[in-house]
Symmetry: C2
């Protein structure tokens, strides 16, 4: 079977450590800890009878909801089975010869690039710069053969955010060179400022922009499989043509109204991230044997400064106590000292801190 190296596999952990899946605190997956919005839960329950019908293959209502949410035309919206399907579909229809992207970043871009025969070159995000992207250096390093630049913003796993001013500079540069700029904004609603950090406002003016989004993180529904893409009519049409029919299930099709019906949830989400991010970051920084990179969204990248302790070993010790972290050693340019943790609700974060403290103390001594 396929080796899955992403976070969030509580089933494997449950089996490996003999802990009931429900008793595991999963800090390896970066999901909104406010959980499913109540309105969404109601919609889902009331939609169960609709499973006897095939999903609408064009997901019209959902596309309409998304277009209204972000003020884009319906012809510029494609929906898919999570952001994953959007990423693979994009490479499938574009078949770029060469892709340039900052790294470390989400591994699915490279996986999709390799699958569809693209060359990848990386722009290394440096630890000494706290993994922040220097947009001018990035632009300078875009070679002539590059067809497509791929950015994750905020970036996974570094939790860094590039501001829209810098991104616009890059977008303009790309347009003059006929390069498509793809931005994965899966976590954008989980930043302070939310959609104001998004590039979606530039879709009307820039044909060379493609934005990837998902319901997964912000509405805490990774199990539902719902992502979407926003881009030029031409690319979006090609993607619809190549898409597996009905890959978006009926329940996922039915939840588009959450984008307008529960603004309260989005506000609460904003309040939580603004407050909890600072608190958790502050507390994590108290560990002298860790280097914590300042998070801009609902997860933090952390480096272990303790000799002899690897992220895999730390992960094992934490998991034995019912807490999963994401070993980040398999990200390009990172090594076995890095791990990633989600930022959750205060109670869970407190529990995490206590157990992390216990485990680190036992390592030191």
């Amino acid at each position: 079977m396929q080796k899955h190296i992403h976070g969030g596999n509580i089933y494997k952990a449950s089996e490996k450590y003999g802990i009931n899946a429900d008793d595991i605190l999963d800090f390896s997956a970066n999901i909104n800890p406010l959980g499913l919005p109540e309105a969404l839960k109601k919609t889902l329950v009331s939609s169960i009878n609709s499973l006897v019908n095939y999903p609408d293959p064009e997901c019209k209502q959902l596309v309409k909801n998304i277009s209204q949410y972000l003020s884009v035309l319906e012809d510029n919206v494609i929906v898919g089975n999570g952001a994953s399907e959007i990423i693979f579909l994009l490479f499938e229809v574009l078949r770029p010869g060469k892709v340039f992207m900052p790294a470390p970043t989400f591994a699915e871009y490279a996986k999709a690039a390799v699958k569809f025969g693209a060359d990848i070159s990386y722009f290394e995000l440096k630890e000494q710069n706290d993994f922040k992207l220097d947009i001018d250096r990035f632009i300078k390093q875009i070679e002539d053969e590059v067809d497509c630049v791929f950015l994750c913003n905020p970036n996974n796993p570094t939790s860094t955010l590039v501001d829209t001013g810098d991104l616009l500079k890059l977008l303009k540069h790309c347009r003059t060179r006929n390069i498509l700029m793809v931005i994965d904004e899966a976590f954008i609603e989980l930043t302070v400022g939310g959609n104001s950090n998004s590039m979606t406002g530039f879709l009307k003016e820039y044909d060379n922009l493609f934005v990837i989004r998902a319901f997964t993180k912000v509405f805490a529904v990774p199990g539902l499989r719902l992502g979407y893409g926003l881009g030029s009519t031409d690319i979006v049409k090609k993607m619809w043509d190549h898409k597996l029919p009905w890959s978006v299930n009926s329940l996922a099709c039915s939840i588009g109204n959450i984008l307008s019906d529960d603004l309260c949830y989005l506000r609460k989400t904003g309040d939580w991230i603004a407050k909890e991010k600072e608190y958790f970051y502050g507390r994590l920084r108290e560990f002298s044997c860790l280097k914590v990179f300042e998070p801009q969204t609902n997860f933090a990248l952390i480096k272990i400064l303790l000799d002899g302790l690897t992220s895999a070993k730390l992960g094992d010790m934490m998991a034995a106590k019912g807490i999963l972290i994401r070993d980040a050693s398999n990200f390009t340019f990172l090594d076995d000292k890095y791990f990633r943790v989600a930022i959750k609700d205060r109670k869970s974060n407190e529990k995490f801190l206590v157990i992390l403290d216990e485990v680190l103390k036992s390592c030191k001594g």
Copy 2:
């Protein structure tokens, strides 16, 4: 947007004919009219909270349930986003040079074959033989270059069933020629005899057999997106490796127990199909301007004998009265005289017959 030519698009019909989607009787999709089993509904509702976790990428519990249901090893089971994902994935990993299949048949095989560069040759099922497959003639026509034969059993849209004796003859022939035999059994539980008509019992002995199945039709959950494939360890492993991660959503992952928990539902399904198939077929045959091919599963292929009336026109007239049929003119070797109808519960079937009668009378007269 993609043109979807399958049955079951009640959303488009609702828009086109100005009828509420809930008021449409959909005879174009071949779903078990007993509806969602109650046990399944309960499982789904109680699983909604699990949407906050990523689905198990290996769907272990589901794979286990399927392996027990059909007495096959877990390593021989792959699950996917409907039978569609299984079909496309199979072509993706096999990349057969040449595929041979009877036609008319389900169009997705050809679509997947074309996508992955396979040549297709068809064995024409003849109307004068009531579209029944002559296995000896089929075997004789398998050319040396064929890598893979593809059968749908019972076949969509002809509703014909090949018995396991004939299929075994074909399977043995294929093995001597190193040909993979793929059988899509999406409707097998909706035949009289159910799983006794299945080839799954030969999986242990024949490495060159691959069986496609789905929860879609038998448990009336096309909206959930859940299909599976059964084949050699080697092919199944390759398919897992190429699969889009998490394409099976958490709710679909959670319903495997229905295969063992609700045998009563399967028995009721068997009773219904045995009885209703005969009744509906008998009543349909009373229409002198139609030729009805004897159904072996929960749908029937019908030919219009009336000059000037096409299946598209009939479909339009029926839809205006709230009943959808499946125009079958786009199936290979069929023309604009053919349509397909599902066999539903008695009450719906009666309503269908009344409206069909009205519409046909208005055409004649």
